[in-house]
């Protein structure tokens, strides 16, 4: 893997929640994160399962959220994470334009993955999301 600019092991040791309903994709994301030295929480296949997992965690450093979970969308999980100041990136085949409402413009990783950029995109996405969360938490507008 080619690491993102800066710390080559930026994601090592981080606890990352994975929400992805399709088993083959969940397995791949799990593998990719494991390879980066992350500790995978999940994967969760539904909003209910994800919220339940989030509630059980003492610590979450980030999340990778598939937008389209079959009949439901992942947005309520995103809201919950935002409240808890947990940075997250969306995963979608639609691209950034496929996000709805206030979520537009949030860091997104495209399906299928560009394997050589996955780590960089994830690290950069989580960094951006973290700065959003801080801005939001300090009363600033997103």
């Amino acid at each position: 893997m080619i690491a993102a600019a800066g710390d080559p092991r930026a994601l090592a040791g981080q606890r990352i929640l994975v929400v992805e309903d399709e088993m083959m994709l969940a397995m791949m994301v799990e593998d990719l994160l494991t390879e980066l030295g992350c500790e995978v929480v999940g994967p969760a296949a539904s909003v209910a399962e994800a919220l339940s997992l989030v509630a059980q965690q003492d610590r979450l450093d980030g999340a990778v959220l598939d937008v389209n979970l079959g009949s439901e969308r992942v947005y309520s999980v995103a809201e919950t994470l935002k409240e808890q100041c947990v940075p997250y990136v969306f995963v979608t085949g639609y691209g950034p334009g496929g996000l709805e409402g206030d979520h537009r413009g949030h860091p997104t990783i495209q399906k299928p993955f560009r394997l050589d950029r996955f780590e960089g995109e994830l690290a950069e996405g989580l960094r951006l999301a973290r700065s959003f969360a801080r801005a939001s938490g300090s009363g600033g507008a997103i």
Binding site: M23, M24, L25, M27, M28, D31, A45, G93, Y94
Partner: protein, 502 residues
Amino acid sequence: MSRSGPAPSTEPDYRAVFEAAPSAYLILSADLVIVAVSEAYLAATNTRRAEIVGRQLFEVFPDNPNDPNADGVRNLSDSLCRVLSYRRADAMAVQKYDIPVSQNPADGFEERYWSPMNTPVLNDAGEVAWIIHRVEDVTGLVARDRAKAETDRLAVEQQRVIDKLRRANIELAQSQTALRASEARFRAAVESVSDILWTTDAAGLMVGDQAGWCVFTGQSRDECQGYGWSQSVHPDDAADTILAWEAAVEARRPFTYEHRVRRYDGVWRLFRINARPVLGRDGALMEWVGVHTDITDARRAEERRKLLLDELNHRVKNSLATVQSIGMNTLGTAESPEAFSREFNQRLMALSQAHNLLTRGDWLGANLRDVITQELAPHQGLDGARVALRGADVHLDPKETLALGMALHELATNAAKYGALSADSGLVDVMWESRREGAERSLRLTWIERGGPPVSAPRRRGFGSRLIERGLGHELGARAVLSFPPEGVVCVIDLPRREIRH
């Protein structure tokens, strides 16, 4: 007259008899001088005997000088001539012969109709000595006839008027029917054509007839006047529409807008509005002309198309990512580049075949037996005796079809490579049954291999094991247990079900 004779008392006094006869008689000499006249004749012609006897007939009764068509003298004269010539009686047709009111012709004439008959009286030599001129006053009859003719004429005229009225009535009814038909046609046309044309005055106020708008909305002419039309615009759109309209009118620039309009039957339809000012030759603003175009169906179709496109994009991207995942996982476990190529392709084909099954069922799902049969087909060849399938028909939804398809593919390839299907004697039993524990419904699928080479637990869990044990649990909420007793691989999958369909 001589009153002498043998029986003077019985011999009638012919003069007296003649004069008293009940019919009107006149005796003429051969030169048409009146020689005798009956009382009835005098009464009928309003004359006195002393005034007419001894006078020329036509001197006494000339034609009415006020009647240019009078032909009494001529016709009577002709008849008398015939009597004199042929010495035979001559009956005349009913003759109009007006008679003087008095002896003084200046007093005028009275209209009369007569039925005259002239009869010769011959002397011993056979010559005409006298002519008996008998007349019957038929003025009354003629008047009656004429009254009757007039009545008939009036009746005919009346009938004609009635017929005319009836025809007019029919035509009116027909034109009313035609009018109603044309109104219905107009309404149908207005309803089927999605465009509504309307006008306002220069100030942007709706004025006059707005047939299209009224037919569509059900508003009356009066109701839509001014800004009345906005009552038919959706309450959420009306205020903004008016603001935008007033701004356009103020700026005299073309107006484009979208809003919902309530149809006469209460259904809301979405319209695109285009209106522009109409300028006179002198450049003065005369009025505004606008068109409402119904875009409800077009918008729905557009939204549906976008939804389908998004869904298609989602599926394609997910499929590509799935292929990516299969590739990565196969790469991680394959023992050689050749093994990678073979296993990768087999897994792609398994996925593709599961898609085929779904496509055949309009993506509503597939039958479990078909899924199993399809995944086992490459390994059991034409001889189905080595694999036994037992279970009722169970319908799988698309997610279940794809996930179980992949899992069964892994079981089948493992069996063909290391297990029961790798040796000639091996058998595979696949059974499934519906189960119910309390309110929980599930499907238990059991895969049992026997008769193959002795089995030992794999040194490390491969892609297949992971997919079955964790993947099924993840995607379907299934509980899958894979065990490796020496007699053969056993896999038990408990699949929770909302509903078991047959």
